[in-house]
């Protein structure tokens, strides 16, 4: 009797502990967001988005950093999405199952867990061979593509694997070739899942600063990049730069910049969740 009572108490305690753990994370996030909003919301206006960087905090804006971030995103999509999807198709549909495919699978999963700064160092090694490209958008996007490629491959593979084999059977039974089946049935059916993975990977890329600093992104860029070989800055680097300034005005700018960055990543994640939910309904 006593021991059941004791067990019930332990049960209750654990439940409370669980609730506290859950809400601790959420609470921290709420406090953080509240603090940032309190600091930065007042600074956030149209001018802040469209103004060039400046030595005077009240006049400085994120225009060039935002443009740099969009450039980096666009170029990273061009580099990593076709490669990632092609690799996923190969790994999921073509390579015979065995030791070699297991080996590749494990290593790609490992790559997805490598710290981002390592990719920066790798990018630096590669681009030190092309001195003209040092600090260019091309170098930055290439480095970030290396970073998100494994994430895209893993997500795309999962999405492709989730397509019911009955759909592929139906295509084959109608006389479709392997490629026709992949192109017209498997990929469209996996589209939502692949998009979810791509967006999550990009939302990670848009928040990265460290690997870009390593490959020569600048903290102060008074112009909007016009081509992929131009110098650039990105939002996280701009924010980091402002935070390290002594004037209080720049700290407020940093808070406003963080709000913009959060809005971008939150809406990307929301889109990813939306696509995932929409996709889940499809095969049921």
């Amino acid at each position: 009797m006593i021991s059941t009572k004791k067990n019930k108490i332990i049960d209750k305690l654990f439940q409370i502990l669980g609730i506290i753990s859950t809400f601790f994370g959420l609470l921290l996030l709420a406090v953080f967001i509240g603090f940032i909003l309190y600091q930065g919301l007042g600074r956030l206006n149209f001018d802040f988005i469209t103004a060039l960087p400046s030595r005077i905090p009240e006049r400085a804006g994120i225009y060039t950093a935002l443009a740099g971030s969009l450039w980096i995103l666009a170029l990273s999509i061009i580099f990593s999405v076709p490669l990632g999807i092609a690799a996923a198709i190969y790994l999921e549909e073509y390579i015979p199952e065995g030791k070699f495919s297991k080996f590749l699978e494990i290593n790609i999963s490992n790559l997805a867990g490598v710290p981002s700064i390592i990719y920066g160092l790798l990018g630096l090694q590669i681009f030190s061979m092309f001195p003209g490209l040092n600090g260019s958008l091309l170098a930055g996007a290439f480095t970030l593509s290396l970073l998100i490629l494994p994430i895209i491959i893993v997500a795309a593979r999962e999405a492709i694997r989730a397509v019911p084999s009955s759909i592929k059977d139906a295509a084959y039974a109608l006389g479709a070739t392997k490629w026709q089946t992949i192109r017209h049935q498997t990929l469209p059916a996996a589209f939502g899942g692949i998009m979810t993975g791509i967006i999550l990977a990009l939302s990670r890329a848009v928040g990265e600063a460290a690997p870009l600093i390593v490959v020569g992104a600048m903290a102060y860029v008074p112009f909007v990049p016009k081509s992929p070989i131009d110098q650039y800055s990105v939002l996280p680097i701009q924010i980091f730069n402002w935070i390290s300034r002594p004037q209080h005005g720049f700290v407020i700018n940093a808070a406003a910049g963080i709000i913009v960055l959060l809005v971008i990543t939150f809406s990307m994640n929301a889109l990813a969740v939306y696509l995932r939910n929409k996709n889940q309904k499809k095969f049921s």
Binding site: E97, P164, S166, I167, D169, A170, A171, Y172, A173, L174, G175, A176, T177, Q180, H184, Q185, P188, A189, K282, F283
Partner: protein, 275 residues
Amino acid sequence: MTEILSKKKKKKKKNKTSVEKSVKSNFIISTESLNAYYSETQALFDINIQIPKLAVTAFIGPSGCGKSTLLRVFNRMNDYIDGFKTEGKVLVDDTDIYAKNIDTETLRKNVGMVFQKPNPFPKSIYENVAFGLKIQGINDKSFIEHRIEESLKQVALWGEVKDKMKKNAYGLSGGQQQRLCIARTLAVEPSVVLMDEPTSALDPISTGRIEELLFELRNNYSIVIVTHNMQQAARISDKTAFFWLGKIVEYNDTKKIFTNPKNKQTENYISGHFG
């Protein structure tokens, strides 16, 4: 002049021989000493069966006796199973389909298949039926639309779906989905249609409609159907093969199998004593 004449003659001769050939064989599919293996396990033993043209042939037998395996040999869908191999000959339209130079895509256009669970593509009704034509490189829109309408009429689905061709096929009922899958198969004009328990996932009304459909289809297609439903086999088929442990124990006209089976096991099975 004479040259042309002789050419013409030659042509005629050729036509004649091909006609003779088709007259000669009343069978669309025949196997010779066919064995089939999943890796080390043998699933089919010495199968010699001849499937008649323009008729319904039923495969019956207890679970795991190799009915689906043989069906999937006929359109080489077993190629996708690792370790699957066959010995012996399988002739479709007098061509050995396991010969080296055989193009499985062409084979499958000629030998269509309907699966146990309705498996429409997660696309519109239109796209479901059009797919088989499009992958052949056909993109004449009016031709495709004509074929779609014709195939959907053949399965008596046209009236129900003609106003929602752009709607997703997943919105149809199970029975409608299965008829759509049959229409999709018919759209590419195969000469054989293989059906693996096509009504086992359906309600009695949908089942009845598909059985009616089979009566119609028999006039234009050679049909092989696997079924666990004895009444269904008796109702719809012209010939019946009884499978037992990977062998065909008895193969005869359906009437004879169901009224006067020669084999004791067949008799036990169809009267419900085992299986």
